[in-house]
């Protein structure tokens, strides 16, 4: 039997209307305890109104080794930013 509890990633919604944001990770034997632990570790200074926990093992991450192939090509393609349009004043803030 594995002695170590599995790792969980913790996401907190700071206030109503905002997205849940990744705040860190912790160990817990199951999802219910992970929520309890997240409450105690990450919301003791009124950081949130909602908590999500996800088993870290369930997260698929991009390969750091293929960083160049994945992200470099977009560096010199500034035309993909919508900053070349004239926006009519009536539209207001985008």
């Amino acid at each position: 039997m594995k002695k170590e509890w599995p790792l969980w990633e913790v996401f907190i919604r700071g206030q109503h209307g905002l997205n849940h944001r990744h705040v860190g990770s912790l160990h817990a034997p199951d999802a219910e305890m992970a929520i309890k632990n997240a409450r105690d570790v990450y919301t003791r200074r009124k950081e949130g109104v909602s908590i999500w926990v996800v088993p870290s093992a369930q997260i698929t991450a991009s390969d750091p080794g293929s960083k160049d192939a994945l992200f470099e090509p977009s560096v010199d393609k500034i035309y993909r930013h919508p900053s070349f349009y004239n926006i009519p004043d009536d539209v207001g803030k985008m």
Binding site: H27, D40, V41
Partner: protein
């Protein structure tokens, strides 16, 4: 001010408030002893949070006690400058932490009681008591959720954790009866509609703990024997050691602040 609590003699009300404040203070101090020593980091932070909640509750109760006493003593004087025989906490609160399971069992037995008491106090005829009870009630509901969950997990866990939880239950059970033994102080607060009678809380408390023990596969001891005395100032040998630790700074350097 004509709060309904005024109908009761101040010294009696003071005594009753000390029971609330001292139980929270002593239990809070006990739980704080885990800080930096818990089995896992997450539990360390959780226990420190609970200790802080309890010490916060103690501050509210003891401030009100000082106000009711009317002799110019505040929360600090009451917490740091009284001797063991003047403390009115439940004996259960001062029992040693033991292993983690014993700490959880002690917490669960008290949380289940506090949760019911605070619910009843939320409708106290004394607004100051009701306000403290509403605030503390939310904290204690979470404490109970956590301690009940851990008692179940450890009781219905491995054979070793189960054996430790059963031993904890057997050693602490005789200290639980004190919570439900009323005396003249209780009769006075009941008459003033400040608080419910301790005896009346027992049935619901039993149904809470029975349900948890069943799920935790633990057997409740048969005995109804109850150690008493904490609420009237006769304590076990443990309280003096707690106070020596807790009060050292104020005793050695009177009035020290930072």
């Amino acid at each position: 001010m004509t709060e309904p609590g005024d109908k009761i003699a101040n010294d009696v009300f003071f005594d009753w408030l000390l029971r609330r404040g001292d139980t929270a203070l002593v239990l809070g101090h006990r739980v704080s002893e885990w800080c930096g020593h818990s089995p896992v980091l997450e539990e360390d932070i959780a226990l420190a949070n609970i200790a802080l909640d309890l010490i916060g509750q103690a501050r509210l109760w003891l401030s009100l006690a000082g106000e009711v006493e009317g002799k110019g003593r505040g929360e600090n004087e009451l917490a740091y400058l009284r001797d063991a025989w003047d403390f009115r906490n439940l004996l259960l609160a001062e029992q040693p932490n033991g292993d983690f399971g014993q700490t959880m069992m002690r917490q669960f037995l008290i949380d289940a009681y506090q949760s019911q008491l605070l619910k009843a106090l939320a409708t106290s005829a004394d607004n100051r008591v009701a306000e403290i009870a509403v605030k503390a009630g939310k904290e204690v509901d979470y404490h109970l959720d956590r301690s009940a969950d851990l008692v179940i997990r450890l009781g219905d866990g491995t054979s070793e954790s189960r054996q430790r939880m059963q031993a904890a239950l057997e050693s602490l059970w005789p200290y639980s009866g004190e919570m439900f033994k009323g005396d003249a102080v209780d009769q006075a607060v009941v008459a003033a509609k400040i608080a419910p009678s301790p005896e009346g809380l027992r049935t619901e408390w039993l149904s809470t703990v029975d349900a948890v023990f069943t799920e935790a596969t633990l057997s409740k001891p048969e005995t109804d024997f109850a150690h008493t005395g904490g609420l009237t100032g006769r304590h076990t040998e443990h309280l003096g050691h707690i106070l020596a630790d807790m009060q050292f700074l104020q005793r050695a350097y009177p009035g020290a602040t930072w």
